[in-house]
Symmetry: C2
Subunit: 289 residues, 2 copies
Amino acid sequence: MKNVRSIKTSTRVCAIIGNPVKHSLSPAIHNAAFAELDLDFVYVAFRVEDVKHALAGMRALENFRGMSVTIPHKMEAMKHVDAIEDVDRRIGSINTIINDNGKLLGLGTDGPGALKALKDAGVEISGKNVLMLGAGGAARAVAFTLASNGGPAVIEILDINETILQELTADLTPSTQAVIKSNKMTDNALAKAMAAADIVIHCTPIGMHPKEGISLVPVELFRPGQVIFDIVYTPLETKLLADARSKGLQVISGVEMFINQAVLQFERFTGVDAPVEVMRKVVMEQLKP
Amino acid sequence: MKNVRSIKTSTRVCAIIGNPVKHSLSPAIHNAAFAELDLDFVYVAFRVEDVKHALAGMRALENFRGMSVTIPHKMEAMKHVDAIEDVDRRIGSINTIINDNGKLLGLGTDGPGALKALKDAGVEISGKNVLMLGAGGAARAVAFTLASNGGPAVIEILDINETILQELTADLTPSTQAVIKSNKMTDNALAKAMAAADIVIHCTPIGMHPKEGISLVPVELFRPGQVIFDIVYTPLETKLLADARSKGLQVISGVEMFINQAVLQFERFTGVDAPVEVMRKVVMEQLKP
């Protein structure tokens, strides 16, 4: 069992930066995984306002190997790294930074975490009609990843904010062979989109703690065979998922995306396969009601 | 027993920076002390070349509470902190940085560590004749601290390098009521100085591993009642100390200064009394032949 007493001069440091960070689960998840595999790493949390200098410091501090970036710094952090993966530049945000001998590589694992959650659940994306509810930062990450890697026939996006909706549509269209549709979120548009969707991915904060018990999607719009994925994970089962489950639909909780984004970060930090079940157990213990 | 699994978002980080740092004992010493007192702290090591940005990072990373600064950065680090204690500005180097809500305070614990080693050994400094062998960075820290706090009647300094000798003498003279004498290190000057000294503090690398078995001071120069303090701590007992001990003199090993500089850092990092015996035990385990 690894102990702080066992930390050595060789121990590599990873950290989450954000503001606030005090409720982050990331230190618990990653340290449990490091301990499980007896890796010479430790993971801490730093509240940060000045992202530029936080990253300058990471670059200068050898052994500061990896960083998780959370709200509100996912866009700002892009300006201060030395390289960004192409898809993440198009998404416009990153949640992970790897320090490779003083060169900082920025990348995102939110979209790939969502894709892995769908694949792990056995969901076939290729050729399917995907409905995205919401066009904000998380939706961008998920949409670009699915568009680039999943091969859907159609991605339809609804949002009440037409500005971000049009931005996402314009950015996404040249990056994919999928048909990209977008519409302002109205009762009518939602009903039509639900009638066509095979996979519904909910990327708005509706139904998130402390405003539980509400759902964007009227129960009568669910159709047999649909897969409903809610990226919200507090609560573990939102009203959207409970409603869908009551109709017999396959549901995927946002906690799977959350676990997988951490799994993918861990594997970039360490270069070894993550102990997924240990990480899942920590998350579930922290989130249990 | 504290475990990396127990690291939380509130855990405060301390680190040593230097180049190299891989042989540093500081992570072992401080983590053992944190664990002993069950403090929510962790201590890591960062090799650093770019001190400016390492400190900019420390400032930006809330929870990065304390830093130990070692060779070759003890002077450079002064340029990049927000405040320096007066005595340390005169000494011209720091070994400790405290991050107080984004404001970096630089200070030195080498000199105070030496003073504490003398006091802990029951040595009376007030009114005494102190002979310093060597005028380099460590000698400066010790000389300024004794001059400011110990009340010696005379501090005589010998060095083969007349430039640093004159600098230290010029800097020290206006800071103290003690009489400051300095002379180029020669056989004759050493013999005269040893004839007058009550306390001898050796601050050169002579006798340090791997060049053990040599001493600046011929055995015949020791006089009954003298206290001999060697700031070298590898080996734990240098030839200088072994010779002095064979003549029945009180001797103090540099390891006491090394432990005390860490003790004083720990107390600045945490605000609580250090578990000195735990820290001593770690140092002794690491240094035992």
